[in-house]
């Protein structure tokens, strides 16, 4: 995303310094506090800021580096499309706001070689009383090769293998976050909508320590996991534990978590800006004839190790067994002398560690941005629901199913519908088997 929008950087850094102590983000260079533009359409928000955006696509692939010039009341900015072809600009409001006209013109010299724009290179955009507007530029049609995916598999078998690998990878990364959510749900009954923000914090912290402070990736990841753990433990201590003491209803807690999710998410946008932070551009390995980022292969392997370790912890250690007892029936567990609140604290820590690892891997897998977690939250919820609310094994199986569904669906339907495909399957599964794939029967109507 563009850097041209940054204004007032110095004062911003001064104030951020105070907040940054908390997260140790102070030393971030000027790019840290830079543009606070909201993401492109499809990013998921109505917003009360005023945004013009669009995506420049050629043969189904977004094109980076296209230059645009936006003019209008109070606005005169140059933009460049990001690596997915998105461009976004935030414009100031005026008294005549919502009715102002903006002009977007495209610099034809920045087009890919041999491609021609359909129509002229200028578009007029009017907000017309909503907060966001978009406009499109189209190319003169040609026969596209390799339409659709980001990668260019040479054979259909390869594209299947690649989707399969991506699916397994996504499933494994989702599984850790889903187990985290499921653990908390199982022991406290809380459906935590702020769970996604733990993922975002993990991903963004990794980026910060690795790319901004230049630390080794492994150290950056470890610090990120530690920060997520503190964040998880902290939110339990400061918010959820007092609310449990107050005997606040679960629905109320769930809505509180929606509020918390909003606060944290937009705080992250305030700190880091609305653009996607590129975390990995590493080497690729060629396995079974397909090339994939080496880091993703390593992440997949590490995820398996973490999940195996977690399973051993749950089944072999005293605390693990007590955890399972509490999540099965906390009243019964309390009556056998287990300190339920202590177990809940431990559960939050375990859940936060798992979710932190998941956040690091999400960053490495999908890059890091302020809404990485929010974007994936529904998939995490879907995994937990599919697995049958509240069991770790169920959440893991559900996550694998969701991961594979998302990635394998790209073989049959447009890639921008892959998440929709997984969610449709979730709804259909609930129709047939309401207690989830591995779940206990919850209710008969």
């Amino acid at each position: 995303m563009n850097q041209s929008m940054s204004r007032n950087q110095r004062p911003a850094r001064k104030w951020l310094g105070i907040l940054a102590l908390m997260f140790a983000f102070l030393l971030g260079g000027s790019q840290l506090a830079a543009s606070a533009a909201t993401p492109a359409p499809g990013g998921g928000d109505i917003s009360t800021t005023f945004i013009i955006s669009g995506k420049i696509v050629d043969c189904g692939v977004g094109i980076a580096g296209i230059k645009l010039h936006v003019t209008g009341p109070g606005t005169d900015a140059q933009l460049v499309t990001d690596k997915k072809g998105f461009w976004t600009i935030q414009v100031p409001t005026t008294t005549q706001y919502l009715k102002d006209k903006f002009t977007v013109s495209l610099d034809k010299t920045s087009l890919p070689k041999g491609r021609l724009l359909k129509g002229n290179a200028e578009r007029t955009v009017v907000f017309n009383m909503v907060n966001s507007a978009s406009t499109s530029f189209k190319f003169v049609p040609i026969t596209c090769t390799n339409a659709g995916g980001q990668t260019k598999p040479s054979e259909s078998e390869n594209s299947f293998l690649l989707a399969l690998f991506n699916g397994i990878n996504l499933g494994l990364v989702l599984a850790m976050a889903a187990i985290g959510l499921s653990l908390i749900y199982g022991t406290t009954g809380l459906s935590n909508f702020a769970h996604g923000e733990m993922v975002s914090v993990g991903a963004l912290s990794t980026w910060f320590f690795n790319k901004v402070l230049g630390m080794d990736l492994i150290f950056a990841a470890l610090i990120a996991i530690a920060i997520v753990t503190v964040f998880g433990y902290g939110q339990d201590a400061l918010i959820w534990r007092p609310l449990r003491k107050k005997r606040i209803g679960l629905t109320q807690m769930m809505i509180v978590s929606i509020g918390l999710s909003m606060v944290v998410r937009y705080f992250l946008q305030l700190l880091f800006g609305g653009d996607t932070k590129v975390l990995t551009q590493g080497a690729t390995w060629s396995i079974a004839g397909i090339s994939m980022p080496a880091l993703n292969v390593i992440c997949a392997g590490l995820s398996v190790l973490v999940l195996v370790g977690y399973t051993l912890f749950l089944t072999k250690t005293r605390i693990g067994k007590a955890t399972r007892a509490v999540s099965d029936n906390s009243a019964l567990a309390a009556s056998t002398g287990i300190d339920v609140e202590r177990i809940i604290r431990i559960v939050w820590i375990i859940a936060a560690v798992l979710t932190g690892i998941s956040g690091v891997f999400f960053g490495l897998y999908q890059q890091a941005s302020w809404d990485t977690g929010f974007f994936n939250l529904l998939l995490i919820f879907a995994a937990v629901t599919l697995g049958g609310l509240g069991t770790s094994a169920g959440a893991a199986v559900g996550a694998m199913i969701i991961g594979l569904l998302v990635e394998l669906s790209t073989l049959f339907i447009p890639a921008d519908l892959k998440i929709a495909a997984a969610l449709v399957v979730l709804i259909l599964v609930l129709l047939v088997k309401p207690d989830g794939v591995l779940g206990k029967k919850q209710r008969i109507g």
Partner: protein, 324 residues
């Protein structure tokens, strides 16, 4: 300063405020009176917006047939959401409605659907027939700091007329024996079932009626503007919930007042912050970051509200619904 307050007061009566109020009245019926956790009110609004605008633009229907298409689509949507979930625990409805809303948004915004839904760009210019119905003579109508055209006034009159109409409808319903059954269901559906009421059917009826309110809200939302797929994300639903809880979930008027307070406060805070930044009073953020601060304020407001005043401004603590 006049302009800042003028804006805030203007937001009290904007068609968008009316749309949010009406969508919140729909969830008041769902959650406040029936106990259904509908986290996908955005999908009912989207069904209204797209059902109406696609009927006009693609199918070339007239205004009223297009409204009818949207309403029928809304009922179908309610059945799709309700059939798998209304027999299950309430959190299943939450996850399915939120998922359905996202699925709908993904589908309408995919580039493959561009010829019908306009893809990521959405749709516009479908309201000519609506504006043609405007009986107000053309011209500019000026009050204080505002300058309204005949269309601005018409859009406000129609949308607030609908809000008041549906509020009255809700008031009649919740005071009837039908309302007694759904209020029973929100507290303990087994008790109601043991008294011979078909709980599933009542929940479905509530889902349909509240969904229809969301759909009409969706039409109001886009009539004076354009259809933008990005507007129908989960944040839309969460804003509506904040409005509902601000006014009081189990009240009729709470949604209306909640929407007015919500939007004028948002306008006021962002205009004040913006003025502060321009004058150099506020130095720790840039203009770009005001939007983030506003969202954070909404989030903090929602948390404090639910913890310390769950019954909302107008609610009665004794009639407060929140499950244990």
């Amino acid at each position: 300063m006049d302009i800042i307050f003028g804006n805030a007061v203007d937001w009290l009566f904007q068609p968008i405020t009316a749309a949010y109020a009406l969508a919140a009245i729909g969830i008041a019926l769902h959650f406040g009176f029936t106990g259904l956790l509908n986290f996908g009110q955005a999908v009912f609004m989207a069904v209204g917006a797209y059902g109406f605008s696609i009927s006009v633009k693609v199918l070339h229907f007239g205004f009223w047939p297009s409204v009818l298409v949207a309403l029928i689509a809304s009922v179908i949507m309610a059945f799709i959401l309700g059939i798998p979930t209304l027999r299950l625990r309430s959190d299943y409805l939450a996850i399915v409605t939120i998922a359905a809303a996202e699925v709908f948004r993904f589908i309408v915004s995919t580039t493959s659907a561009q010829p019908i839904t306009g893809g990521p760009q959405g749709l516009n210019e479908y309201s000519n027939e609506f504006w043609a119905m405007n009986p107000i003579p053309a011209g500019h109508y000026k009050f204080w700091v505002w300058d309204y055209t005949q269309d601005d006034i018409f859009a406000r009159a129609v949308s607030w007329g609908l809000v008041i109409g549906f509020a009255i409808l809700l008031a009649i319903l919740v005071r009837s024996p039908w309302g007694r059954v759904i209020k029973g269901i929100r507290e303990d559906e087994d008790a109601v079932r043991s008294l011979g009421k078909n709980v599933y059917s009542y929940k479905m009826q509530s889902l349909v009626v509240g969904g229809l309110m969301g759909t009409v809200a969706g039409i109001i939302f886009v009539l004076p503007t354009s259809v933008q797929p990005g507007n129908y994300g989960t944040t839309l639903t969460f804003f509506i919930w904040t409005i509902l809880l601000l006014g009081g979930a189990s009240t009729v008027l709470g949604s209306i007042v909640g929407a007015m307070i919500f939007w004028s406060l948002l306008s006021l805070t962002s205009d004040l912050l913006s003025a502060g930044v321009d004058n150099g009073v506020i130095t720790f953020i840039s203009q770009n970051q005001i939007g983030d601060i506003r969202f954070m304020l909404v989030g903090i407001g929602l948390m404090l509200l639910v913890i310390f005043r769950p019954q909302g401004i107008f609610g009665n603590k004794k009639e407060l619904y929140f499950n244990a």
